[in-house]
Every structure is written in C-alpha cells, then in structure tokens.
C-alpha cells in the first residue's frame, strides 16, 4: 500500500477504454510510451493495493515477466491474489 502512494491520479486522458486492461478485477489503465529509447509508463487503478502492485510490476517487470507465478511467490503476493487477480497480473505484464 505504501507503493501505491507513488502513483497520483492521472489526467483523464489516460482513463479511457483504449488504455484499460481487460481481465483485471478492478479497473486498471496502463499506457506505455517509448521516446528517445526511453520507455515510460503511465498507470492507474482505483484500488490502492492494485496501484502498489502496478508500481512493483513496472519496476520489476523483467523478473516478473520471466515467471510471474515465481515472482509473485518470491514477493509473497501469491496468497493475496485470487486467480482472477493473477489473470489481471498476467494482463498487466503482457501490456508492459
């Protein structure tokens, strides 16, 4: 939850269906931009715990993408995530 405070409510341009991820139990918006060889992400969720998870997944995306189940297990989040939420994590990682 402390990680969630790193995200502040974005401007409404992000919060459109184009950036909304399916399969997430709570609404998640994610936009990836590549400019001058630098990748940046804008992300938001109405749920605080999901915002914290977004920060963690973006920050550790390489490890998480290698094996999301192992990653969630390493960070001891598996037990907090229902299967539908795990699907949401997979959807986020695919979008990263």
């Amino acid at each position: 939850m402390s990680l969630a405070t790193l995200l502040e409510r974005p401007n409404p341009q992000l919060l459109i269906d184009q950036h909304k991820l399916q399969q997430c139990e709570s609404a998640v918006w994610l936009r990836k931009t590549v400019l001058n060889q630098q990748t940046s992400y804008q992300a938001w969720s109405e749920a605080k715990i999901m915002r914290g998870l977004l920060v963690m997944l973006i920050s550790c995306r390489e490890q998480a993408q290698q094996d999301s189940d192992l990653f969630l297990s390493h960070v001891k989040l598996s037990q907090f995530l229902s299967p539908s939420r795990t699907n949401g994590v997979k959807a986020i990682l695919d979008a990263l």
Binding site: L3, P10, E25, Q38, S59, F80
Partner: protein, 458 residues
C-alpha cells in the same frame, strides 16, 4: 410428518467441517454464502459413499449396481419435488445449475414461443437487479428471434418499481417475465407472488430464479403459481454442478428438446428421431449422478432442521450486521433492512471495495467484492461494485461482531496513506536486482516517479 431437530447454531456448526478451518492464520469467518454455501458432513459423506459403493450409470438397468444408482438418483428427484411442492416428479429436470436452467428455458421455450410472424417484436421482461444469468440468455434468444429484452427499473431504495412493472406489462404485453425471487447483490426478497399474478393477467409466462431463495426459506411452486422455478444445489448446501429446473408439465411437453444426445431419445434413426418423455427429454447425456443424490441429502438435511428457527437466527444476525455496518463512519449500506434474506451490500467512501476485501481476507473473513454479476444494477446505483457480506444459519453473533471490528480497522488502515507495509518492503530485499526496485524512501520515489508516470530507462 417428518420430525425436525430443534435449531442450535453451535451444534449445527459442527456439521460443517470447513467452518473449523483457519485462513491466513485466523479462524475462518465465511460471509460469502450468496456465492456458495458450505456443505454439511452428510453431503460430503454421501458423495464419497456413492463412489465407494453405488457408482454406476443410471437408467441402464442391466445390473444391480445400476439399479441401485438409478433408485437413489430418482429418489433425489422425488426429494426435490417435495422440497418445492411440485405437483409432479417428472416436472423436475436436472441441470448444471440455475444458469443452465434459464438457458434451457430461454432456448427451448424461446424458440417455440418467440418465433412468430407478429409485426411487433416479442418482449421478455426482466428487472434491472437481475443476475447476468437471468439477462444474457434472454438477450441471446431475443437477438436470434428479433425479440426484445426490457428491464423494469428500480425505485430509489432499489426495489423493483411496481408501478413501472404494471406500465410495462400493459405497454409491451411480454410473452415472458423472468424475475429473481431474491436479488443476489442486495438480498431483497422481491414480491414475486403478486408480480406473477400481474404477469398472468397480461398473458405472460413466468420464470423465477430461486438461486438465492431456497437456502433461506421454504418455496412452494404451486402457491407461487409460476410457470418455471430454478435453483442451484450449491447455494443450498449441496454440491456444485447440479441444479434444478421445475416447470409446468403442459409447457414442458410443448417445448422442444434443447440439447441432443443419449437419455433424451426414445427412438433414433436417420429417417427421424423420437424424443423421450419428461423429464428425460431435457436431460441429454449422463447426468451428474452423485451430485444429484447428494443434493437430495442436502435437502434432507435442510428440511430436517427447524427452518423457522434457522430463519429467525439468520434474521437476528442480519440485523446485527446491518445495524453495525450503518453505524460505521463512511459506510453506505445499499441493501434494505426489510424483506432481506441476509445480505448486506455496501460501499465505503473514498475506498475501493477490492482493497477492503483483500484486507478483510487477511483477518480470515471471506466476503465478495465487485459487481456480483449484476452490472445493470451497479449502473443503476452509479458504482462499479460493492462489498457483499452474506450470512447463513451457521454464522454466529461473535462472527458478526468480529467482522464489524475488522471492517473498522481495515477502513482506518486504508485511510492512512503513510502506513508502512512491512510485507512489501521486506520482500523487496529478496529480489536480486534491487536497483530496479522502488525503494523505501517515499519522498525520493515521489521525485523520481512524479504523478502516475513510472519512467524506466532502457
């Protein structure tokens, strides 16, 4: 007349092995009974016993085991018929659950009733608070038959608007009226008896989704005088994968089969196939035999207790829960305290229902968060979801009190943005590539990652 056992909630809990489980190191408090109910030992044992000593396919009377299985299977059907006071046992049709029962009626009755040459599209009337299972099957058949599904609006207190219902009946003269006996998201018991009478006055066929009703109170389909009634076993202490469609014989006989296969035929040839009689006409393939038999056991268990006393106990718990929730600052309860089976659906100002559910789970409390498969209701409420605490007769006052206390704590935690989340911070150190991690220093992180942007150099 069957004798009943006096209701004793402490004793009853011992019948449900799962209730002694610990979740997240805490005693389980199961307040997700509207999603599925727990199973008494008698049901669990019956499933196991069937596979140990009686497993065989049914209606293949060439050996003793098959005869035993068939007898138990058909006895369960009789038990269901008596449970809902169906006039004829062959009007009880096994389905996978309420969803399949509604799909069966929508497809079979729909293709028979809605395919007509009327210039005006036929109408199917549902309420805004229906579960998706009582909306989408009708939308599918409506699209296939150029019919329309019209929703009855709700009043401000989230009850079906009876004046609007009457107006829509007169305006559209619907061929089918499909209503939930009890709203799954709010727990409201709809006045279906009078709604059925009005539907009949306008010539409509009625289907009642009883999924949330049968686990809480007795249902009498003859007294209701609906045309179809359906429910799922797993919401009334039976197994998953089995449910019931009851329908009036005259209608069922007119309806074409929905699915084809074994069991549902009388004679098959390439020049033409004749179908079996009721109920087998609608039961293609090998049915979930053990589950049907165990549903019979669940019903025996339920009818073997003093249901009036169980209902009183549930109502006491519900009002304690309802009053407790409404007294918590920031909590908005959407369910009505009247005519409610025991569901408190609520939101909390400024907080997301999913966050609250996750933290309640850390206290061993199981509740549901989300739209509860009732998106049109959520749209009417102007929200994307609620928390839903739903009780059953095996819950206790102590559980309600613990829930209320935990809910207040969770709200306080979530309202405090600067709380240290030790789990996440400790775990970060276990990741090898620490440089890519967000560090504990919140201030530094805020400078590094302003607003919603997280910039990663590549």
């Amino acid at each position: 007349m069957k004798s009943t056992t006096p209701f004793n909630s402490t004793k009853i809990r011992r019948d449900f092995p799962i209730l002694s489980l610990r979740v997240q190191g805490k005693s389980l408090i199961y307040f997700d009974n509207a999603a599925t109910t727990q199973k008494p030992r008698a049901v669990i044992d019956k499933l196991s016993q069937f596979y140990k000593v009686a497993n065989a396919n049914v209606h293949r009377g060439s050996h003793s085991l098959s005869n035993t299985a068939t007898s138990q299977f058909e006895l369960a059907r009789k038990t269901v018929a008596a449970f809902i006071n169906a006039p004829n046992v062959h009007e009880v049709i096994w389905c996978k659950g309420t969803t399949e029962a509604i799909n069966l009626v929508a497809n079979s009755l729909g293709s028979y009733l809605l395919n007509n040459s009327d210039q005006q599209p036929a109408t199917i009337l549902v309420s805004t608070s229906e579960h998706h299972a009582n909306i989408v099957p009708w939308q599918l058949i409506a699209a296939a038959t150029h019919s329309q599904v019209i929703a009855i609006p709700l009043t401000k207190d989230m009850q079906i608007d009876q004046a609007e219902y009457c107006r829509l009946l007169t305006l559209h003269r619907p061929k089918i009226v499909a209503l939930a006996h009890v709203s799954n998201a709010l727990g409201h018991i709809n006045p279906i008896r009078q709604m059925i009478v009005k539907a009949k006055e306008h010539g409509a066929i009625t289907l009642i989704d009883g999924a949330q009703a049968v686990g809480h109170f007795s249902v009498d389909v003859q007294q209701l005088d609906c045309d179809f009634y359906c429910f799922s076993a797993h919401k009334c202490f039976g197994p998953t994968g089995i449910g019931v469609l009851w329908g009036k014989q005259a209608l069922l006989n007119k309806m074409p089969p929905w699915q084809g296969g074994g069991e549902m035929i009388e004679q098959v040839s390439f020049s033409g196939t004749r179908f079996n009689q009721l109920p087998f006409k609608f039961e293609a393939g090998t049915p979930p035999i053990a589950d049907a038999i165990a549903l019979g056991t669940a019903i025996d268990y339920l009818t073997g207790m003093d249901r009036a006393a169980a209902e009183e106990h549930e109502q006491r718990l519900f009002h304690r829960l309802y009053n407790g929730c409404t007294a918590i600052s920031g909590v908005q309860v959407l369910s009505s305290p009247d005519n409610n089976v025991g569901i408190v659906s609520f939101t909390v100002s400024g907080l997301h229902h999913q966050d609250i559910a996750i933290l309640l789970d850390q206290n061993g409390i199981a509740v549901r968060s989300g739209h509860h498969c009732a998106m049109p209701l959520m749209q009417a409420l102007g929200i994307d979801g609620t928390l839903r605490a739903s009780i059953s007769f095996y819950n206790t006052e102590q559980e309600v009190d613990f829930f209320l206390s935990a809910l207040q704590e969770v709200i306080a935690v979530l309202n405090n943005d600067f709380i240290e989340d030790t789990v996440i911070i400790e775990d970060k150190a276990t990741i090898e590539d620490k440089d890519t991690l967000v560090t504990e220093n919140t201030q530094r992180d805020k400078q590094q990652y302003p607003a919603s942007d997280v910039v990663i150099g590549t």
